[in-house]
């Protein structure tokens, strides 16, 4: 004959809840701390280093390897009301002067500007004549300095009207600074040293 089932076993199991108060305390500390350092908008810095005043006044022409005078590129970009005006060798007409009109919607044609910058860099400036390695005495880092046939091959003078919105100029600086190699997707410098001026 089987035994009668125990009455105790029928008692319901009590669920044991873990004490989560210490974890909650930790959360209450962690969340404000993380909130203070969280970055919801990704910021970055657009660096601008104006050349020294004497360099602007004298121009950047120097002596070449054979002691001869090095020619200047004199790349100038005017941001006018009707569009961009790109000039090299200080010319205001011919092959070395190009006007990029506004798009039909009245905005600036940044893509055409980028194409023109790339054309000047590849067709007029060309590849570097030589590469020099420079050691920084403070950081002990070695940097590569590309020497082109034009002394001011990395520089672009940008002139704009006084009321031009800051966003337009930032976009212009983006388009003229560097380009991406279509095969490797690596960025290469176009004209990374701008000199900002104003159309009077």
């Amino acid at each position: 004959m089987a035994f009668k089932p125990s009455q105790r076993r029928k008692a319901p199991d009590e669920t044991v809840e873990p004490n989560i108060t210490p974890i909650m305390n930790l959360m209450v500390v962690l969340i404000p701390m993380l909130l203070s350092v969280a970055q919801f908008v990704q910021l970055s810095l657009l660096e601008y280093t104006p050349p020294p005043a004497e360099q602007i006044l004298d121009g950047e022409g120097g002596e070449g390897e054979g002691g001869g005078e090095v020619q200047n590129l004199d790349l100038l970009l005017n941001i006018a009301e009707g569009g961009f005006e790109v000039s090299v060798f200080n010319e205001t007409k011919g092959d070395n002067f190009k006007e990029i009109p506004l798009l039909p919607d009245g905005t600036y044609d940044f893509e055409a500007l980028h194409r023109e910058m790339l054309r000047i860099k590849t067709d007029i400036v060309g590849p570097p004549v030589r590469v020099e390695e420079q050691a920084d005495t403070t950081s002990q880092q070695v940097s590569r300095l590309e020497i082109f046939k034009y002394a001011d091959a990395n520089r672009i003078k940008i002139s704009a009207q006084s009321q031009l919105p800051w966003q337009v100029l930032v976009q212009v600086l983006d388009e003229t600074r560097n380009y991406r190699d279509p095969e490797t997707r690596m960025p290469h410098p176009l004209f990374p040293l701008p000199l900002l001026g104003q159309i009077q």
Partner: protein, 167 residues
Amino acid sequence: MAFAPSKARKLQTRKEPTVSLNSMMDMMTIILLFLLKSYSTSGALMQPHLDNLPESTVQKSPEKHLAVVVSERGVLKPSESATDKATMPILVPIGELASEEEAALPSLEAFLYDQRAMDEKLGKKEIAHVLTVEAAENIPYSWILKIVETATSVGFDTFDFVVTKIS
């Protein structure tokens, strides 16, 4: 005559009423994960003061330097206590900034001189030469040029313009 107290009631242990924290834990965990994802070391260095910064593809990470904010109120001085542009102290009033007669900004010049003098007084090895400029996207270009020219005359040679990063 009162009834005798029930024996069953006497033996019954009273349970402490507790608040269920489970749902709050779930919520906290989600918030914590989200904040950990958006955690950034540069967030501690720089927080934007303006919500309409220009957009750029530039990739330079934020660095802590002397900073000014340029808005429709003029040139403002950001501080830990005043993070909103409406409460930030004005360094250059809008009249001086928008004036077409003045090429430089005397108020900003005085402020920058003071900052450099303070660096020298504190015996800092490197005197400030980098100025961080946080300007709204619709600010006229001439205002930026005025700030650059003024700061250059004081001895600043590098300008870091704060932008919103786009890919």
